[in-house]
Symmetry: C2
Subunit: 333 residues, 2 copies
């Protein structure tokens, strides 16, 4: 295969947090998913994050026939050529670096390639999207952005507040990503993004991963795939197809205790609402057209039905992330 | 330069623990030392060890004109060709892996390439050389040896008891090292090694790094370089020149508090004796012919004076470690 035809046929998902099992890894391969970026930590500190990395090292050792470590964009091609899935690591919060900027390079050495500066709440680096006040990027936040730029460590602002997001886009020397969110105009959820953010993101060369998490979808779990695809088509007209990919936020086989961990961490003793869910509500049902990693063809077909050319549909399905990761993870830029 | 001539001219020191400064790094370059293996931890747990790795990441970033990260043996050649020093990382104890075998791969990913299974005392893996009873390699010790073999993580038994050392040599699928010790027949110190250990080490393809730490030397700080070189010559006759290198144990510019940390860690509330020193004694003075990294020519000259050919002297000075590291750190063997 030529690089161009590879790029057209890639499926890349920029955000998954499944309850990993051999079953799910086999579904990834069956679904011809060439790369996923998996969440390693939400509220974990450094030491706890390392234990999750130990678990992944063991998965790579045991399931080398199904998955390969994702470190640079070329690993996506390696995976695609050998019928496996490249697994990249992401942090949804900065808690794993604690208050030590040196832990960024340590985590990068351990294979982590993406980090959100905030997760819903105020962090040491910026404000999350549920904070009543967003004071923007902090002093340490600016240092961390510069260090992430140096290392080739992708900045993700999916769960950040508006001001913090705009300031991160402006402060970063490299384009950033919002790996899993949708336009606010399609579903007015706190987690979905304003026109101002989407425009600034695309204008700076960044990427939006469209989310398939029901609370981010119009009509929630009942959302039609045609509605999703039409949203993507309108967004492509607005910000350009080259800036759109998918970050499904798939949380397959997770017990509800996990969504409470995501929302509540250890920062509260009460049960919080989040992402359109009332306090105490568990994971919403997946839309029927995206239950696991064998369902990607439904989305591709809907994109083409909604007016995307085959070339553009394949950009959204994975080609754009492949291109973007190539720049985002390159060292010595 | 051909690989052969490179190999002849290399200086490699398998054990240093200096109080690192730009001054010392410049002395390494001035002394044309192509590689050193530095101690990262004695009694530190994983998290503390990571902070030392953070410090080294910063040194590599700031002093890229002087040092390069040592990960594989080829980095020694890279350093030699560019007039810099490759810095490899070693642990003198297994405390950094705590009771988690998965931390071996994590530390390997962070660049660590050598680990002692024990440091003077009983560890989770085996017995140290000061324990009254040496029960040999433990259950976890056997698992760790197998995992180190898989990763290309060199086993070092410098501070281990006799039985544990012999059992590690037998259990390991790869040759092991004793990176810093001398023959017991030359200086009968607890830390120096018996004929049985030296023979088993060499017969299995292992390496001994001759120590320049005064308590390991005949006549201590007053040891003559001729005595050291004559010891090396006799040892080469006994076990073969290909199994001998140098591990100086240089602790330049360290305050005495560091030697108390080495001996006492946090395992005792009292002050211990160690390596020929009485309790409470600080670092001994260096022999006048090896005060810092500009003094290597004195040793090479003495080796040739003691009867080594130039070829064999250069093997001892660094060529043997270069060859041995090539096998020891190779992955997928």
């Amino acid at each position: 295969m030529s690089p161009a035809s590879q790029s057209r046929s890639l499926i890349v998902d920029a955000c998954q947090y499944c309850n990993w099992s051999e079953l799910i890894l086999r579904q990834l391969v069956e679904g011809r998913v060439s790369a996923i970026t998996v969440t390693i930590a939400y509220h974990e500190d450094f030491r706890e994050t390392v234990e999750h990395l130990v678990d992944w090292n063991r998965r790579f050792e045991r399931h080398g026939d199904l998955i390969v470590p994702g470190r640079s964009a070329g690993d996506i091609d390696t995976a695609a050529q050998s019928g496996r899935t490249a697994v990249f690591f992401a942090l949804q919060n900065c808690s794993p670096i604690e208050d030590d900027i040196g832990l960024l390079q340590i985590l990068h050495q351990l294979g982590v390639r993406v980090m959100q500066l905030t997760y819903n709440n105020q962090s040491l680096l910026g404000a999350g999207c549920y904070e009543p006040v967003d004071g923007g990027i902090t002093r340490m936040g600016r240092e961390v952005i510069a260090e992430m730029n140096r290392l080739g460590f992708l900045i993700d602002m999916s769960h950040s507040g508006e001001r913090s997001t705009l300031e991160a886009i402006a402060a970063s020397q490299r384009p950033i990503a919002i790996t899993h969110a949708n336009p606010h105009w399609w579903r007015p959820a706190v987690r979905n993004k304003s026109d101002a953010v989407l425009k600034a993101l695309a204008d700076s060369g960044g990427m939006l991963g469209l989310s398939l998490y029901p609370h981010h979808l119009k009509d929630g779990s009942a959302c039609a795939v045609t509605s999703f695809a039409e949203m993507a088509a309108r967004l492509a007209d607005e910000i350009g197809v080259d800036h759109i990919g998918i970050g499904s936020d798939l949380c397959q086989d997770q017990p509800d205790s996990v969504v409470f961990w995501m929302r509540d961490g250890r920062w509260t003793k009460t049960t919080q609402a989040g992402a359109g869910a009332k306090a105490g509500e568990g994971f919403p049902p997946q839309p029927h057209w995206f239950r696991d990693n064998r369902d990607w063809p439904h989305i591709r077909a809907a994109l083409i039905e909604a007016g995307f050319s085959v070339t553009d549909a394949d950009k959204v399905m994975g080609g754009n992330w492949r291109r973007f990761y190539g720049d985002a993870f390159a060292v010595g830029v």
